[in-house]
């Protein structure tokens, strides 16, 4: 079982996440046509509130949230008990993983799921000591991806004819 991060520590770590979500939402909304600007703001606000009010340990929350259902059922990824307890990275990694899950909520549904599933797949195979850096790299490129995915999603929805899954 992974150790939980203490409450104060989590509060401190939440601030940059909220900042990231808010700035990301604003940036995406600026890039979208006027009729779509409400969407990233609505999603960003919901995500920021969700992060702001959360008081549970990250691991517990990730388990209860079910990581959007299907993927978590596989019992894989970082939620697996005892995966990196030996090197003491579990709490930090779990917290970053939690951030990754929340960042995926800023993406359109299908591409966001795929991004998270792929991250989970890769992170479950990567050695524990490299996992923190890998998650950081996912988080660094997340804003670029959010913008890219929403731009594509908007183009897809604006296109006439039958809709295809993204």
């Amino acid at each position: 079982m992974m150790p939980s991060i203490d409450r104060e520590e989590r509060r401190k770590k939440r601030a940059p996440v909220i900042g990231f979500i808010v700035s990301g939402s604003l940036l995406v909304s600026v890039l979208l046509p006027a009729s779509w600007q409400w969407l990233p703001i609505a999603v960003g606000t919901s995500a920021a509130i969700a992060v702001g009010v959360t008081i549970d340990p990250p691991v517990g929350r990730a388990r209860r949230s079910g990581l959007r259902g299907r993927r978590r059922e596989r019992g894989s990824g970082l939620g697996a008990p005892g995966r990196d307890d030996a090197d003491g990275l579990a709490a930090v990694t779990a917290h970053r993983w939690h951030t990754l899950v929340m960042v995926s909520w800023l993406m359109p549904r299908q591409p966001g799921r795929r991004w998270l599933a792929e991250a989970e797949s890769l992170l479950s195979e990567i050695p524990a000591f490299q996992r923190g850096a890998a998650i950081r790299s996912y988080l660094r490129s997340a804003l670029q991806l959010v913008v890219m995915m929403w731009a594509r999603e908007v183009r897809r929805r604006a296109r006439p004819g039958p809709r295809r899954p993204g």
């Binding site: 599933a117 792929e118 195979e125």
Partner: protein, 108 residues
Amino acid sequence: MAPRLTVQVQLILQALLRDPAKEMYGLELSEETGLQPGTAYPILLRLEHEGWVSSRWEDIDPRAEKRPARRYYRLTAGGAVQASAALSGARRPKGTALRRLAEGGGTA
């Protein structure tokens, strides 16, 4: 429209071109190129949007294999031709740039 050939994009294309018929998954590509997985993902996604690369989920039973399914990438027939042409016209990444990427993981 062809993707912008940054050093990172070239590294990914070179890795995929080594054996265009072979499928590679994220970690494999990451180890091959020295790029961090988070850096490689947007590049692969962009290449997929451009039709240069196709991808699929591995068809396994995760419980039996005790790991999640991998996402495999490979160059499409057209992508392989376009990638070869683009790489032959592109400036080759310098050794120092490659070393820096291998050490730091690089950014897209």
